[in-house]
């Protein structure tokens, strides 16, 4: 799976869970500061990402994944 595929899959998840339009979910965006996504929504996004990509993102890892690119990189390494 390419980084671009992971990004578009992640954008779909973010749109569904947090109501942020998928085209606004771009690599440089910070979840908290730019997309207004809080820690609980991040947990939901992590669970959905696990279902979609088969890569577990543990709670203790989540706080280090600040930008969209951070999550793409984490998933990309695990796929």
């Amino acid at each position: 799976m390419t980084d671009q595929e992971i990004l578009s899959g992640l954008a779909e998840i973010v749109e569904e869970i947090a109501g942020v339009p998928a085209d606004e979910v771009t690599p440089e965006k910070s979840f908290v500061d730019d997309l207004d996504i809080d820690s609980l929504s991040m947990v939901e996004i992590a669970v959905a990402a696990q279902d979609k990509f088969g890569v577990e993102i543990p709670d203790e890892q989540l706080k280090d994944l600040k930008t969209v690119q951070d999550v793409v990189n984490f998933v990309s390494k695990g796929v």
């Binding site: 809080d38 820690s39 947990v43 939901e44 992590a46 669970v47 709670d59």
Partner: protein, 351 residues
């Protein structure tokens, strides 16, 4: 002893019930309202944060002299009055609770006695926030087995007895209250496709033509290996919770809900109401979204009741009944989850 004999003297002819159903709900909340601003004066939190992360605007707290048994009795009495049955008709009382300070006597036996119910089978059950759904399942099975005819099921909690008011991760969540349901065996001879005397045939969703669920099979389970996610570790201690871990677990329980629908022979689209444990509005919304259940069909009692553990499901049901939000004769999904960890879900036909 006299009471025992009185029960024993009754002649109870053998019969084979074919099912069970809920006749009525009742609820009780203490008078004292605690707002988010009240809590913000004590701990470092604020109204906006609590509303956005938990969904609670205010909660009710019992007075120092008000016990779990007191609250259970009031809620049970209301459900009994709404059911049209008399205390003499009830022969089983089960109370779900995880917050009593004193382990004996049981809340159920004392509350039953106060309600004038003579010598019923009576016991308490602890499955924490899943307690009401566990109790409803146990009672339903007792009724179907012929072990009782009419039962009172109560969830009652004084969670504030186990709160550290300086712990901002828990004191904003938990609250006190009680809720109850009167449950009856559906005796042999009542047609299986009858929604009961209070059911409205026309209001059934088209996909469940003439199908009577009553109280559907429970889907229940536990995860004791994660018991430390919500716990009290000493007699004088308080509830501690791994909020993020519990959130992750609870928002992933939608397969349990789907299975409960499947076992009842319906699809989530057939549900006219979804009443999950009122733990956190964000958990409720996540589950509803995953199940595709529209917002207006979902209980949101937590906003003004807080998290009352095993009381939350029947308390929400009793309020929805008062508000005319429950459609008689149609299927609703109940779901409890919490400490244990434990969970339970079942579909009921609304009274």
């Amino acid at each position: 002893m006299a009471a025992t004999l009185r029960r024993g003297e009754r002649s109870i002819p053998p019969y084979s019930p074919i099912g069970s159903r809920i006749l009525a709900f009742g609820g009780y909340q203490p008078d004292q309202v605690v707002t988010n601003d009240d809590l913000a004066r004590r701990v470092d939190t604020n109204d906006e944060w609590i509303r956005s992360r938990v969904g609670i605007e205010s909660r009710r707290v019992a007075g120092p002299e008000e016990s779990v048994t007191d609250m259970a009795t009031v809620a049970g009495g209301k459900a009994l009055a709404a059911s049209g049955l008399s205390p003499a008709d009830i022969d089983l009382v089960v109370v779900a609770t995880c917050s009593t300070i004193l382990p004996m006597p049981s809340v159920a036996a004392v509350a039953a006695s106060r309600l004038g119910i003579i010598a019923p089978g009576a016991y308490d059950l602890n499955a924490a926030c899943a307690g009401f759904c566990y109790a409803l399942a146990a009672v339903s099975d007792s009724l179907k087995a012929g072990s009782a005819r009419n039962a009172l099921v109560i969830g009652a909690e004084k969670m504030t007895d186990w709160l550290d008011w300086d712990d901002r991760s828990t004191c904003i969540i938990f609250a006190d209250g009680a809720g109850a349901a009167v449950v009856a065996a559906v005796p042999d001879g009542v047609p299986a496709d009858s929604a009961g005397p209070r059911g409205d045939e026309r209001s059934r969703p088209p996909s469940t033509p003439g199908r009577f669920i009553g109280i559907g099979p429970v889907v229940w389970g536990s995860a004791g290996d994660q018991g430390n996610k919500i716990q009290v570790t000493s007699r004088t201690g308080a509830i501690t919770q791994d909020g993020q871990g519990v959130f992750r677990w609870a928002t992933s329980l939608h397969p349990v809900a789907l299975q409960a629908c499947e076992r009842a022979g319906i699809s989530p689209a057939d549900l006219t109401a979804f009443i999950p444990h009122q733990a956190n509005l964000r958990i409720i919304e996540a589950l509803a979204r995953k199940l595709g259940i529209p917002r207006e069909r979902v209980a949101d009692d937590i906003v003004h009741a807080g998290n009352t553990s095993s009381a939350s499901v029947p308390l929400a049901l009793s309020r929805m009944a008062e508000q005319g939000r429950l459609e008689s004769g149609t299927p609703a999904l109940l779901m409890g989850f919490g400490a244990g960890l434990s969970y339970a879900a079942q579909v009921i036909t609304l009274p």
